[in-house]
Symmetry: D2
Subunit: 343 residues, 4 copies
């Protein structure tokens, strides 16, 4: 049994980690911390877990995290970097579900996240935890930077095109729509039901933190500079990201359906839909699956890729568990095999 | 392995049965029928099941249902009664998730369902499949009438009060709120998102089919006549029933919290909330749990019971699987233990 | 033109007042205050008003409220009582849309609202602003206590029964379901879309502030003591209250349909539905109408009344404008005649 | 008073026309037809209109439409063309809110709409009813083809860029998200709340009927061939379209903010948001406004335009009334000036 600790367990990533780990046969959740809710029973905050878990939030200071084999950091950005050094040095492996170690270039990170990086020496070592790209490195990693939700959906949708180098790299577009849980469990006016329901809007057109993360990852795939126009939208739903990507073919494009099916044939959590199908976000609700379809409307040179994930699972907690499974040599889908909830 | 057949698998009860049974270790789904969708792959209709199931809908006529150990009937009302006789005679056990065998009095049934009952000879034998009341009879049953969604939520909420005979039986009230999936997957104007979203309304105040079913069950509990005022409401959500029951105490009422906790202590799918808590429907989303709380506001003689279920699980497919588990001597919670999805 | 001021204009009552008043022919909005947003253009916060209004929030301290003919107080509870004295003394009439002056008994008010009442001397003078009960007193009032949203829906539903004294007063029940905007525009976790959507729950079963307000009003109607069991629920919608009332007949009940139609025949904002109809909340969305239907299921002695309002209009800002119209001798429906938005 | 007839009044366009026209001072609704609901009171179907309208649906055959000054056709596609000739010949002006007369090329129309056009001789005369482009021709038109909802949002967003010829015409992209009411009031499984809620999906990537309509209109603006990649999405909301357009600059781009503000300065129903703002669909809910913002992220050569409308108002009934106002020399905003409903 792997002894697991969770730092910052009161957000949506926290409850989702608990939901998944309670049905994982090889994991023992040793400790879960929360500054604000220390002393409270987990099921008091998350009654859906009644009968599945018997834990109480503890103060981070008093949590014996160094006894764990693995720690998931589910805190806001800027927290994991304050204790990563200590955990790694103590031999504890760390998966940061926030953004602290995703961007290799410290200057760019500090620019987008608006704070000083206090642990830059681990940036180079941190492995970007997208199994479909970095499975081998994840296996050995001491520190995994779990990808953002938008980057997961968008990068998985574009990889096959970029790997065979058949589209323009300077005109890529990703138009993404996210459910409101992507904004977290913090109390914000813009996330209120009365504000966000029966409504849809774009935000951050001028620039979003996930933009540089996506470009960095795509550049690792292609080895060349990539310009992506990325526009996120807030959609009136709880979970789900739908990313619609547009790319312009630069050369003869092969059979796209076969290209995608072959690329992801052995991936347990990427499902390529049959030709002419469109994935809907609910078809992955509560699951770690990314469902993709690829299109070439009118046989013009414009390609369209649709990619859906559950932002809290493949876009956060589920992918973190997938990474854990890889890191510890477990069945990669341990804890993650349950059909999505539909309707 | 139990060989299972599903008749009428294209509705919400059908997809929910499939979702649950694919993770049940002791079940082999042999056949699934649909008149309208015969020849279609199940995953074409329900893409959430891609990777979990490899079945095609077949014509009822050509389905070899008599090879099954158990058949779930997930058809509209009035269909199961047309083939129940044949299946039972062939030694196949049958769980009807519709209403054909729920009401013992044929005349009342015909009055509420507006058709002739073509298999009245099995009405007496059919066991009302509420495990919390009839577990022993379910074990031996050849034919189980799976309870309606409203009756499940309401009856479970009232049993402890009625069993100790401490409330008036002629003034019971159940004010119930249901998600739209309770109206099924059929195309109806009133179930459209543009009609039912951001809206709430009562319906059937003059009388609803589940009324006599509830009264019959409560009368079995008390042995006396019961009058229930039952008002169902349509709430703008996909899943969930919230039943609010009002009862008037007739005598000294014991410690209600203890009464409820004790009554359901050994029930795997009834969870009594701590005192002064209120269950929310999402806390059981996708699960077979019924969560209940009991209140006595202002210490007046009026008691209030809150009871929530997922109408498609404990209110339909999940309870059917629970009944199957009991009928075949399996672990009662087989296939049914996964934490609800929250948020 | 009536010169109107609005104190605390950044909440949902504020924006709704502005939406209504911009189409009112006899009103000039002189000033709108906000502590938090002083200096901000109103349309920056509420872009739906672009082109309809050209105002900027000002500090309450610098607002010349005493130049107004009427002030609407749309602040949280406990604020209006701090300046009511000053405004009234200056000859400004005041409509408090919060709860400060709704309850006549200061002790009860302080108990439920958890603070000291700093202006108790105006409690007796304040007129409870339900036009269907107190139109005459409203006309002359210097200070109107605008009713709560739940009380409006519930009281209007019960008045006809109580006025003819045909139901038990000690067993009244009101099961009410409210949209999330009823909790205001404040940032709260429980009002987040990801928490409140696809969910329904009761709250405050042990007691809710609107309980004593409703009982006080019903006792004014009957002249006798009334016990109401009131259970509010949070429903996953933006606007709307659906109140379902249960009452037990004590004597021969007259033709209920006629009773209700006659009682409200000349009321511009109460619509009695035809027999056997059920009102839905969306049928009053954005409007000041209260729609009611009355039922006697199975001709038993239990009566059921359904009453719907838009909590932000008839339950708050719209009723306030209706009161203003009455106070200033204007057409009572000025600014309030626009068909509800459906779908 | 203009005598107006409505053909096919039971859909969402019908009820929206009624909602708008009941507050229009210069219109008398003479007749409203429905094959399915003939004999039914309008308010029976649409209770929101109780107190605002007193009409009954009549059989089309018995409706004296030729007595009208203007007929709105709110029927499904393919119906208006069967009676357009007769009405026009009788001197009745006609606004078809469906698609029969939108596309000038009969062959393309028949290809996309899958039926023969039975009134092709009026295609050339029909005026495409987008006031912002064709106000002058609308004034004199006998037959107006009211634009589709997607085309309205997308074309209004792109006009300023195309008129000054500063973007590539072969790489335009429109990623559009629509509320479910866009699919109409017909009973369809895919529009059920339980299917469409908490879900988002693209559809028609291979081609959508509004594609050629948009390209035809944009080509009229530029005088050159335009290739648009258009991907519609279904979003879980009742009303609203959010169109996100991507264009590549071909030359020095002027101050975009000023360009848009100037182009639409005198348009009553196009509102250009301040720089760096994002419009949300709810900010136009229930109103005839189109709200637009224009962006140039990172000062690269990629331009992003956001455009929102209410699909049932500016995208259908509201624009039809705007066209009527122009055709009859009325105030162009008659019946259309009411602030959107927010929240």
């Amino acid at each position: 049994m792997i002894r697991v600790g969770i730092i910052g367990g009161t957000g949506y990533t926290g409850v989702e980690l608990l939901r998944i780990l309670t049905r994982h046969p090889g994991v023992d959740i040793s400790v879960i911390t929360s500054r604000a809710e220390a002393g409270l029973s987990v099921t008091e905050l998350f009654p859906n877990l009644r009968g599945y878990i018997d834990l109480t939030f503890v103060e981070p200071a008093s949590a014996r995290l160094t006894d764990c084999d693995l720690v998931f950091s589910a805190t806001p950005n800027g927290v994991a970097m304050t204790y990563a050094r200590e955990l790694i040095d103590a031999g504890v492996r760390l998966i940061d579900i926030a953004a602290d170690f995703r961007i290799k270039d410290r200057v760019i990170w500090e620019q987008w996240y608006g704070m000083e990086h206090v642990c830059p020496e681990l940036l180079a070592e941190a492995v970007y935890g997208l199994p479909e790209l970095n499975r081998k490195q994840i296996r050995e990693a001491r520190l995994v930077a779990n990808p953002g939700c938008y980057p997961t959906a968008i990068v998985l949708g574009l990889i096959p095109l970029l790997e065979i180098n058949c589209v323009e790299l300077e005109t890529l577009i990703a138009d993404a729509k996210s459910g409101v849980s992507g904004a977290g469990r913090g109390a914000k006016v813009s996330s209120l039901l009365a504000e966000a329901s029966d409504n849809l809007k774009a935000y951050g057109v001028a620039g979003h933190r996930h933009g540089p993360e996506i470009e960095q990852t795509l550049e690792n795939v292609t080895g060349r500079e990539v310009f992506l126009t990325f526009v996120p939208h807030l959609a009136p739903m709880i979970r789900g990201i739908h990313a619609t990507m547009y790319a312009r073919a630069t050369q003869a494009v092969p059979d796209l359906q076969k290209l995608y099916e072959k690329r992801y044939a052995s991936e347990p959590f990427v499902d390529v839909m049959p030709a002419d199908h469109h994935p809907d976000t609910r078809s992955v609700r509560g699951s770690n699956m990314c469902r993709i379809s690829v299109h070439r409307p009118g046989d013009r040179d414009r390609l369209v890729v649709l990619s859906v994930i559950d932002n809290l699972v493949k876009g956060a907690a589920g992918q973190a568990v997938q990474n854990m499974n890889i890191m510890f040599g477990l069945d990669e889908s341990g804890g993650l095999m349950a059909p999505p909830l539909l309707p």
